[in-house]
Symmetry: C7
Subunit: 236 residues, 7 copies
């Protein structure tokens, strides 16, 4: 957390530069992301694995409706960390964009195109007055030209492409784990296991039931949610 | 209640992030919700029970017009806690949405669709300048595909699906009670009793007359208000 | 009057939440209402009595033009307390609404419909920037489906239905008096007397001349102002 | 003059409520009115007398162009105190309103209608951001249904009907004098004399030349300015 | 110059009232006028004399382009003091107004009409947010119905008609001089001399070359600039 | 540089008056002009000389693209000091204006017309909220009716015509030098030399290469840039 | 980094002048540029070399998608330093501009035209309220009239043409190195080596893989990215 007396002047109004060239509202929005449970994205030989840790405080809550993973198009999905309401607003834009693309060009939208559209939207909220930045990071994954691709975006509107990445709580530790253990020729099951283990390392109380997984298969180019049983099978 | 000197900078203007990534105006709006008397939603085998504690200070006030429970469509209702004027504004939007749905698709709107529309509206008021967030939480309940569903929303625009949940004053205690006593195969009467007892535990002066109940029946998919007599019969 | 150092941060700009979930500008507007002389509404067996204490400082002022009671439609009236200029703005909207209703549906508007429209308008001024809340409370009374109804509204846009209620200066004391003395089968004259006596108790210098009364009769469903003589006759 | 440390928070931005329910910007605008020389309105048996004290510092100034009394329509006039530039803006609106009325309904506009239109305009400037209230009070006088009527308005948009009233500097003293000496069956000359004497009492250096008088005659229903000679004749 | 600690609260944002009913931004704009060199207007038997003291610091500056006197229409001129750039903006509006009048009514615009239009424009900038008042006073002079007329306006939008008046630096002293020496039947030459002498008294270093004079002749109703030679001839 | 504690209140928001009638934002913009290297304009018998000192820190920078002198039309040019990006925005407007003039009237625009248009634009940015004044002064020079004319403008939108003038760093010293040495019948070469020497006196490290010169010839009425060689020839 | 107590007043709202004529928000934006890794542009005999240091923290990140070098048109490219999201927004505008130029004039857009369009856009964000300046500098390079040209722009909207220049972290040191070692007749390979060595001097941990290079060839006038192998070959 960022905190000293000098910054107080920069957090009142619109997003403006501090004397050392930082945009505090954007950095604070990143803190909001860190307060959310982790989500991960892993490219494998068989396709893209998106995983999200959903902390469910009680049995009375219907876990399947805690949204952290979203389908954007047949071949593209996203996993968020941070303010899920902000994520939904962005996902709605991307879904419409994907539909428009199919209608206009009779072909699926590219993964990178979706990411750029997402980041343009987020950038606007860091430069204009009267709004706050989005308090959410989004991992976008999908198949493009037959290849699995995973992108990480953040509240500033930056994006980076990764083979395996994480956002939200303890994302730095999860990424470190990925760096040690990631291999290029992972199977779907190995990808899910890597994702689960990396998140579990820093959130010891996670269970397979609390780990939502979606998979976009390279061959079929189709997004599907793994059932809790499938997840448990892989990670145990 | 949240309170320390550092937060003072964040409560003046539009809803912006604090250094630790929180949106204080949204959190303050949640405090406004906690100041309102409790409302609950319980799914039962026979349908959805919505209950609301209406504190009526004097006999001269016509209790039936203290609005906390609203019908949105034939098969969907809502119970609010917090600023009822804010709730009315939201309910009006949802009713129109439900009508439009029937007119456009010749079929009733889905419960989850209503909830998403509600939360989109609430999110807007947390990101744009010149407005404050809604000071209200809303439980939306109804029948969808023959199944009873209950959702809890809050001023940030988040929503969660529950088997039984509570909002407003002492909602944490009421939820705890639900966790202990909720069972999957409740009858309507048992649902009403569970709801009433849970609220009564933390609001000892409640009477059946001050507990408004609406029921959306699984079979008929119809919303109806229970009379004070019916409520009394169940809870005694 | 509300007053402590902590609240200072919340009264500068638009209507926003304080850390404990209150909207100070709305509470201050309620103070503006308390600064105005009292108005009352009483349902009787014969119809609705609206009463307003009009403090007339000098004989040179033409008392009948001190507006506190307004006719909205043939069968609906209103009594205000607080900023009368704010009241007039609201009443103009309601009158137009009533006319439109007659033109569109060939039938008189419902009392509760008028109240909801009034409160929607007031709510808007508590949530948007660049305006202040209305500094006025309004009692709306009228005949609906053959029954007398009286509603009390306040600057937040809340409303409650009452058998007898009061707004403005000393309204709490007047309401207490109503609780003790109100009976269900009042005649018009008894209603006027109850209203007058309750106001007089806390405003000792009131005279029948300074107490404006309007009556909406159950049978004819017509609003009419009582002459000063009629009022004097009833209360003496 | 109103002045204490607590109010400082309320005078910076738009017109908002103070904790005790006051609108300071409106009260300050009233102070602006008190800084202007007095104007008066008196109803007599023969019609309405409007009078205005015009302090003319030097012979080189053409006194007849110091505007404080305005003709609005053939049968309606107005006298202002405070910011004359603000008054002119309001008077322009009223003149147009009067013309439109004649064009639309082929009949002269009512005095009270003019007053309500004036006050609606003034109210707007007390509730919306980005503007200040009008710094002027206006006495509107005219003949309606054969009867002389005089209204006093103020920056809040309030209005009261009077038999004789005053605005501006020392208006309280002038009103007291009216209370003592006003009689119902005044002739035009007695009305002018009463007006002049009341103003003179608190502004000893006034002369008949510095006292502009307009008269709206009951019989002809016509506004006309009295010449300086006529005024002198009456008051001496 | 106005200056005390209390006023600090009133000079930050839009033009608002101080507790004693003053509009500081307007008063500060008047200070801006006082910082400009003086301009004068004098009615004579032969027409209107407009004079302006133009301080030219160096021979390299082309004095004739230091604008302080403007022609508005054939028969109307103006002399300004204060921010000349603000003056130009106003003069442009008035010239257009005068042209429109000729086009619409086939007759020259009245002097007073021009003055009212000017003051309406200036008033707007004292009541709306997001702008500052005009930092200029303007003397408007011309022939109307065969008579010379001179008006003085100020940043508040007030206007007064004068036989002889002054604005800008030392205007109070110049006016005093006018009061002593002005006579009703001045010739053009006497008018110019009076104007020059009055300004010279408080600006000892003035020379005829630095005193621009325009004359609007009663007979021809035409505006023309006097040459430096003509001015020198008159004043010596 | 202007600097004392009292002015702090005036630099926060839009351009408003200080108690002594100054517009600090405009004065600060003038400081921005003084921070830029000097530009000069000199009228000669053969035409207008515009000169600009371009400090080029390194050989790697292509000096000819450091813009300080701009061609506006065939017969008009401009030299700026201060924020060159602000200058470009203004020059673009003037070029368009000049083209429109040629298209509409089939004749070249007048130099003074260009200057007035420039100053109108600059004035707007000193009176409206939400923008800052232009941080640039511009010397406009050209041939009008066969005569060379040179105008100096500043961020307030004021303009003055000069025979020889300077803006930017050390402009006061350069002007003093002009006052001593300027003569009416300069040749082009003498004009360039005077300009160069005056700038050099206060910027000792200037070289002919760093002194850009443009010339608008009286006879041909054409703007052209002098080559570095031509400049060197003249000044040595 | 700029830092002292006096500047605190200037960083709150829109971009305004400080008393010494500086625009702090623009200077802070320049600090944001300095926080970004360096980019360079070098003109050679064979064309323009654009280079960018891309710090890639881990093998898992796909380096080729870290955007710092952009193609604008066939013959024009750009390298950025600072907020890459801000850069993307600007690049999008320039690409569209280039396409429009080809469509309208059937010829490629000029390099300088692109630079001017870029700077106009950036200037706007330094003068209007409600937005912050762009936090990015952009080097634009390309072939125009057969010659390689390189421009450096900054957040103020200024631009300069260079033979070799650098932006971002340590740009001053890199420029110094260019001044020492740049020669006019560099081959492509020498240009790449010079660029790499200059950046490496102040960022010792750079590797050829982390140095993205694009080349716009003089002969073909075509932009192409050099492969990592090509870069390594040149610099080793």
């Amino acid at each position: 957390m960022i905190q000293d007396s000098q910054q107080q002047a920069y957090d009142r109004a619109i997003t403006i530069f501090s004397p050392d060239g930082r945009l505090y509202q954007v950095e604070y929005a990143r803190e909001a992301v860190k307060r959310g449970t982790a989500s991960v994205g892993v490219t494998t030989d068989e396709g893209v694995v998106l995983g999200a840790y959903k902390r469910v405080p009680t049995e009375l809550m219907e876990a399947e409706n805690v949204e952290k993973i979203f389908q954007i198009d047949e071949h593209i999905g996203a996993a968020s960390a941070g303010h899920v309401t902000d994520a939904r607003k962005l996902i709605d834009i991307l879904r419409r964009e994907a539909q428009v693309n199919r209608a206009s060009y009779q072909e699926p939208i590219g993964v990178e195109t979706v990411v750029r559209r997402l980041c343009d939207e987020m950038q606007k909220y860091t430069q204009q007055g009267g709004v706050r930045p989005f308090g959410v990071s989004v991992i976008v994954g999908g198949i493009e030209d037959g290849e699995p691709r995973v992108f990480e975006t953040d509240p500033s509107g930056s994006f980076y492409e990764w083979r395996a990445t994480a956002i939200g709580e303890n994302s730095a530790e999860i990424k470190e784990r990925f760096e040690q253990d990631y291999e290029d020729d992972l199977s779907l099951g190995e990808g899910v296991t890597l994702a689960y283990d990396a998140v579990k390392e820093s959130n010891d109380d996670i269970t397979p039931e609390a780990f939502e997984v979606a998979f976009i298969e390279k061959e079929t180019e189709e997004f599907r949610n793994l059932s809790a049983d499938e997840v448990r099978e892989y990670v145990e």
